[in-house]
């Protein structure tokens, strides 16, 4: 029998944890995004690779510097900013002048995240804040598309990529119209097959639904993404566009086209699901998804822009906390005791 003399830790219960931490979640989201980024590089070549790197680096560096300037510990270790950077890059057209990419990245972090108080406090998805800023500041550059699968894409950069800061390149011709613009402005639909597999032009990460869905499924299985959000968006978009398409197929594109074109896939799976900016309850999340879908369809069909997913998500982000307040779960024991007895 030995005498025991121990210094004991006192912590309150529970004394065990599940062991899945915030940085684990964030790292997994990065993994899920990498194939999407890889396909973007495959589609658009060196231009996309450089652009995505600049986008990611500008976000990570901005966060690091902003933290340090404010005398706080750098938070880049939680990986959330890497997600923001990658996502931000994936929403941009490849070939966007790199200085614009960097400025937008800084805005995404500074305005979209840091100003609100950092991780967990941001109201909007920071990546979309950066993109929305660029859309407003450089509308022409943001809608100039780089052709997909151009010859020699792995060896050369798009002409506009290296434009000197504060100079906007002069565009002579629209290089590769996106399917959405083609439909909206020329009533020219694109084959569904091309859309699903990504053989079209568009923002870097918008073009392959397959990789986006695979990444989303990976996260949903790990419970790191609430599948109800994309499901609600897809179902609502399909329903609304199905009805409108049946009424007037000339003006309103059908559900397949609506689902697989533009940023809808990327937006629904990766942008709208940013945990921080979504409602907490499953009921709230469905309302949120439906809201995004309705807004997207409205902007796409009737708004001035060919693409509306981004604004729809930003708007729904702002509504998240209000949705939470509206659909608070019914607390246990507050049931009207109607079916008592047995």
């Amino acid at each position: 029998m030995s005498k025991i003399n121990k210094t004991l830790e006192i912590r309150t219960s529970p004394h065990i944890v599940r062991g899945l931490s915030t940085d684990d979640i964030m790292r997994n989201v990065v993994w899920a995004l990498l194939p999407v980024a890889g396909f973007a590089v495959y589609t658009f070549g060196l231009t996309a690779l450089v652009m995505l790197s600049v986008a990611t680096l500008s976000c990570v560096l901005s966060e690091h510097i902003l933290c340090r300037l404010n005398g706080r510990e750098s938070t880049i270790g939680d990986w959330s900013i890497t997600i923001t950077g990658l996502l931000y890059g994936l929403t941009l057209p490849p070939g966007l002048p790199l200085w614009m990419v960097a400025v937008g990245g800084f805005i995404a972090v500074g305005l979209g995240k840091f100003l609100f108080g950092g991780l967990g406090y941001n109201v909007f998805n920071p990546a979309l804040v950066g993109r929305a800023f660029l859309q407003a500041a450089f509308p022409v550059a943001m809608t100039t598309w780089h052709p997909a699968f151009a010859d020699g894409r792995f060896f050369s950069l798009d002409g506009a990529t290296l434009t000197v800061p504060f100079m906007e390149p002069v565009y002579t011709a629209v290089t590769g119209a996106t399917p959405l613009a083609a439909m909206k402005f020329a009533q020219q639909p694109t084959a569904a097959y091309d859309l699903v597999f990504g053989f079209t032009s568009g923002s870097a990460g918008e073009t392959s639904a397959l990789f986006i869905l695979a990444g989303g499924a990976y996260l949903a299985v790990r419970n790191m993404l609430n599948w109800r959000i994309p499901a609600a968006i897809f179902a609502t978009v399909a329903l609304l566009s199905g009805i409108l398409h049946a009424i007037d197929p000339q003006h309103y594109a059908g559900p397949m086209f609506m689902l697989f074109s533009g940023g809808l896939m990327l937006g629904a799976v990766f942008m709208a699901t940013d945990m921080v900016a979504t409602p907490l309850t499953n009921r709230g999340v469905i309302i949120y998804g439906v809201l995004i879908a309705v807004l997207t369809v409205m902007i796409r069909y009737w708004g001035g822009l060919p693409e509306g997913v981004m604004y729809a998500i930003l708007f729904a982000n702002a509504a998240s906390r209000h949705i939470d307040r509206l659909v608070q779960p019914r607390v246990y024991g507050t049931l009207k005791q109607a079916k008592r007895g047995s």
Binding site: H15, I16, R18, S21, T22, I25, N226
Partner: protein, 445 residues
């Protein structure tokens, strides 16, 4: 009678911590030796402390009354061994406070025989006599709550009980106390149910068991005599299935009203080990002076289930079973709701259902870094009461306690720890809620 062994029924939400019961669930209950000095706190139950009826220097027999209940919400204490009352003084207790306690020094070579009292016959005793006998026997909830059992059984005017639930769920990881009791003390349990049915007036009893203990369920249902309206029913393995409210919902589909008690839905819920004590003690008029506990965890050499005298100092208990590795944390109860002790001088009390010892290896797995709330909603999906721990955590951080109570039902939180368990940001949610509740209670007076 019959057993419902389909274990799909449960409550909504909850979590699935690793069970960790393999180390002890096959080990028969073993008798623990007497410590050189035992410390019997006069307040090891919820309610008023008991009043000592012995003097310092007095010799007592095993099972003799040491303290009598002071009022209705209070229970008696009995001598865990024959010996001498050395002192009656303040001693450290598991909750970190100092509590008036009786120091008892057992005689060298003291035997296990217990003195007999006035038997209470289940056939002839009235409900009030049984309630009094349970109080005199010093019985409290052995599952950990330590609430005086007889208080629960007192049916208020205008209310009634139709179902008696015997709680054999034991959802806390590591603990196998109730599991072993259900295998080894079947006759006591059935006798206890007879007493409980009589007091409560319930027409039937259900023994609820988590699906990870099919052997216990089979043994019990095989032993139920035809004249006893008892069924054995299994429920899904999920934490906190053993919480009264959750078990009632799983078995009966009834929801205990917010701020109410099981009796508001015509139910009384008694832990299975408590039931066994009633069945064993009342026919002999004895008081409770020992209980079964699981001593386990990676830091323990001889893990097992022990019949241990109440008042055994924790230090003595751990010296007996032997410690292994670099012990960092010892807690009474399971890892989800148990109380970490700061000192090994606290005694094993009536409400101690187990002792779990962690070494640096287990504590190293608990992250230190706290991230901001990322609104992942894991906590919302875990809370069995359907609260919003995320929001409450944020409010607690800025001291907005009233808002937590008024808008977010803080007072309905029963501190099960599910939210903290799943939180990826390692936010000490339960700790916040405990603190907030304490502050609000204080403010109220």
């Amino acid at each position: 009678m019959q057993a419902r062994l389909n274990a799909k029924r449960s409550f909504r939400h909850g979590v699935h911590p690793p069970e960790q019961k393999e180390a002890t669930n096959r080990q028969a209950i073993r008798q623990f030796p007497f410590a050189p000095v035992m410390v019997i706190p006069l307040s090891q139950h919820i309610g008023k402390p008991a009043r000592a009826v012995v003097r310092e220097g007095q010799e007592v027999l095993r099972g003799q009354l040491l303290a009598e209940p002071d009022g209705f919400v209070s229970v008696a204490m009995h001598a865990p061994a024959a010996g001498v009352v050395k002192r009656i003084a303040l001693a450290p207790y598991a909750n970190g406070k100092m509590v008036e306690s009786i120091y008892l020094q057992p005689f060298p070579g003291a035997g296990q025989e217990v003195i007999e009292g006035r038997p209470v016959d289940v056939e002839t005793a009235t409900p009030d006599e049984i309630i009094l006998a349970i109080q005199q026997a010093g019985i409290v909830g052995l599952g950990g709550a330590a609430f005086p059992t007889h208080v629960k059984l007192k049916v208020p005017e205008g209310k009634s009980i139709d179902t008696l639930i015997i709680n054999g769920v034991e959802c806390e990881p590591y603990l196998t106390t109730d599991h072993r009791v259900m295998l080894e003390q079947i006759d006591d349990i059935l006798m206890g149910i007879r007493y409980l049915l009589k007091v409560s007036g319930a027409g039937r009893a259900i023994i609820g068991i988590e699906a990870n203990k099919p052997d216990a369920a089979a043994a019990l249902s095989a032993a139920v005599p035809a004249d006893l309206p008892v069924t054995v029913e299994m429920v899904k393995v999920k934490y906190p299935q053993g919480a009264e409210k959750m078990l009632i919902t799983a078995l009966l589909g009834r929801e205990v009203p917010s701020g109410g008690l099981p009796i508001d839905v015509q139910v009384v819920c008694i832990n299975v080990a408590t039931t066994a004590e009633i069945g064993r003690l009342l026919p002999h008029g004895r008081g409770i002076q020992e209980r079964v506990i699981t001593i386990t965890g990676p830091g323990v050499k001889r893990k097992g289930n022990y019949l241990i005298p109440i008042g055994t100092p924790l230090r003595f208990a751990l010296e007996e079973v032997g410690l292994a590795g670099n012990v960092t944390r010892v807690f009474l109860g399971g890892p989800m709701m148990g109380q970490a002790v700061s000192s090994l001088d606290v005694p094993i009390a009536k409400g101690t259902s187990g002792v779990v010892v962690f070494t640096d290896e287990e504590t190293a797995q608990i992250p230190q870094k706290v991230y901001p709330c990322i609104k992942c909603a894991y906590c919302v999906d875990a809370c069995p009461i359907f609260l919003n721990p995320s929001r409450m955590g944020i409010l607690a951080k800025s001291g907005r306690y009233e808002e937590m109570a008024e808008d977010y039902h803080l007072m309905d939180c029963f501190e099960c720890g599910s939210c903290s368990y799943v939180c990826p940001s390692n936010i000490p949610l339960v700790q916040y809620f405990r603190l907030a509740k304490g502050i609000l209670r204080e403010k109220k007076g």
